[in-house]
Symmetry: C2
Subunit: 428 residues, 2 copies
């Protein structure tokens, strides 16, 4: 009882090309293990060069999305274009036409899942996007069908390969940010304009998607606190190590009694934490559920074949299951009624100050912390540079609120006796 | 469109009790997030004490499996009895009666999945067993629906909590095996008769289940090489550390051109490997697929609530999906026709010898290794105990065959100049 399943791939870049290759190479394997005769019926890409490089026969080249949708052999449309321009228009057209869509597009799903789901529900077709988050790691399948018995209380993820590569190099090779970024660009790990990755937008889109699923309410990306890694000094990574911390760009989601707390920022975590040893371009998501306790999924967050693994696994899932699970929350554009978001979140903090090396200064600063209700776990004064009037002072605080820290920082800077040069949040 | 789903739980021990608690505590949560009204309609356990301790209302107590199956409100039967006696009879009865079964029973699935699947296919009901392997970690869901686009080439798992707890204590606290086992028994981490865990039977059952799924052929447990941890000396763990290795009881499955290779044994892995930092009662499975590359799933491998998370996630899956995926291989009792198993596998080895501290001995031993085609990576002579004629000699070999090592060991022992006191396989 073999079933024929035809796929069209829109966008034959890194992920689309990997998807094409994976389907072609595994044809007989899927026939045997999944009882499906899976073939790429059409491809759509402006670049003939790409299509030729992949060796795709010319009779499969489509000239337009209309041509793709008019082909009765196409059951599933794979979108690997990226962005929210053509990708959005094509996905909507496919869904309107009753074609199931598999996409790797995090920005599209993050920003427009409500529009896409509405159409998909109406026409009764599927919308799958495992590949949009954490490459080949089946985190979405896990949230939907692996830990769905749990209230997910907390999620911490290293979900961007570029920034993890950069931070790993800064941590283990001591190079500075600008230098490491250049090297990453040279190696193709970072784009020419790296903003999307290094400023945390990519992680933010993924956190919006994952926390929406985990917490059973749309978590709009506009509710996510976001800070990138472009201001990180290698010196702070080294100081953090002395306190037993490792620096990672984390996407953090918490579902607490006070509300949902979602944030992306450079974070010190204990070096013994499983996430601390996730290095280079590897990614991982660490989840805590009320029954399962802690689990972690680890793997390659990007790359042609790892991401294609997620795309094709979704294609096979779509081809072999009739039920489609859409978001179960009512409003897929905004958060559910009654859901609160915590904006003034609490955290422990690492602060690096430059202080005048004079009597009474430390007392003044301590006083400012105290007045803002910030209690201190550890304080450590370092040697300054030769001839420098000011010396570095490192402070680790107990858990306190973001607003208290902001106030304290402003007050300290106003004293003229010290400046706060780095503020890094700490998670246990 | 809420659907009523009734569950019966057979066996209210640790996992069954956790399952009862999880379903009761999450009733409203599942109503909201899964649109199912999930209730425990009946329970079956000989011990009234247990049922009372869990606070289960008496009108839900069943006196027999017949009473459970006669209840029209029971849609899904959860089996958490364990073993292959009553558990097998009850599961078969439920399946014959057209009830979907969710089980945590690794021995039952490993030994009798062919009988159970045959009946399930005939009566059209589901058979789910995520909880049989690695507690709350959704490894079976991942193999079925997360990485199914891949040829899985290799799998290495720490799949038994008791032995990982014991080895972690031996590694970090230096206590010996007997002492640590006693402590584990006192804490309830090891059973009174620990054979099933410490001799690797439990890991073997799980490896049979997981490698069958990963390699798309039944992998009978009788094909698995098995060696437990009861003969491990703490001294070897310490010596291994000097070479950069950490000792773990691994379940290893490889699908190579020569055939399928499946084995459970204490294994040295590089201390930098992600599995090396999986400690105490935590478990993890490290998979390599031809597209996804390396991924790892990590979490609690046992315990009431983590295992219940897997049981109840299966129950929800069964209640919300109509397609059941049975094994796709034809013969679920034996390996598929044409599948070969590698019995004389290859590995690197750590050997600890006691050698006479005399001229010419090392040359003789080296000669034996050479004649058996074993080449040596590293050799290190240690100081012996005061007054001891013999001194420890540690040898790390390149990859070689198990049979070559066995021959060499026999030859060395026959010299009377040295004995081989420990043989531990090394994986990269």
């Amino acid at each position: 009882m073999v079933r024929k399943v035809g796929v069209a791939i829109l966008g034959l870049g890194v992920v689309g090309g990997g998807t094409y290759q994976t389907i072609v190479d595994h044809h007989d394997f899927y026939l045997k293990t999944q009882q499906i005769d899976l073939t790429v019926e059409m491809v759509l890409d402006k670049s003939e060069e790409r299509l030729n490089a992949l060796g795709i026969p010319k009779d499969r080249w489509a000239g337009s999305i209309e041509e793709v949708l008019a082909n009765p052999c196409v059951d599933i449309v794979v979108e690997t274009i990226g962005g929210v321009g053509a990708a959005k228009a094509f996905v909507l057209a496919a869904l309107r036409d009753g074609k199931t869509v598999v996409t790797s597009n995090k920005e599209l799903i993050c920003k427009y899942s409500h529009e896409l789901e509405r159409v998909a529900k109406r026409t009764g077709c599927g919308l799958y996007y495992e590949a949009s988050c954490v490459g080949g790691v089946p985190i979405i399948r896990t949230l939907l069908d692996g830990v769905q018995a749990n209230h997910v209380q907390k999620m911490m993820g290293i979900v961007n390969g570029t920034t993890n590569y950069i931070l790993t190099k800064m941590t283990y090779e001591g190079a500075d940010y600008a230098e490491t970024l250049k090297e990453a660009q040279r190696l193709g790990y970072a784009e020419f304009d790296p903003t999307n990755d290094v400023e945390g937008f990519d992680s933010m889109y993924k956190l919006s998607i994952l926390s929406s699923m985990a917490f059973h309410t749309k978590v709009p990306y506009t509710n996510i606190f976001r800070e990138g890694i472009s201001k990180i000094c290698t010196q702070d990574i080294a100081y953090g190590k002395e306190f037993g911390y490792t620096l990672k760009l984390l996407a953090i989601g918490k579902n607490t009694e006070k509300g949902i707390e979602v944030r992306v920022h450079p974070t010190f975590i204990p070096s013994s934490h499983p996430l601390a040893s996730v290095n280079d371009a590897f990614n991982a998501v660490y989840l805590t559920g009320d029954a399962v306790d802690d689990i972690m999924l680890y793997g390659r967050g990007a790359g042609a074949l790892p991401t294609a693994s997620a795309v094709v696994s979704d294609v096979i899932y779509a081809a072999t299951h009739s039920e489609v699970k859409y978001s179960t929350f009512k409003n897929t554009e905004k958060a559910e009624a009654g859901v609160k978001f915590v904006s003034d979140f609490s955290s422990a903090y690492y602060l690096r100050l430059s202080v005048q090396d004079a009597a009474g200064v430390l007392a003044k600063i301590s006083n400012i912390f105290g007045k803002n209700g910030i209690s201190i776990v550890q304080i450590s004064q370092k040697n300054g540079a030769e001839g420098d009037e000011r010396v570095p002072l490192l402070v680790i605080t107990h858990k306190t609120s973001e607003s208290a820290v902001k106030n304290a920082v402003a007050k300290i800077n106003a004293t003229q006796l010290a400046t706060v040069d780095a503020v890094i949040r700490v998670e246990a």
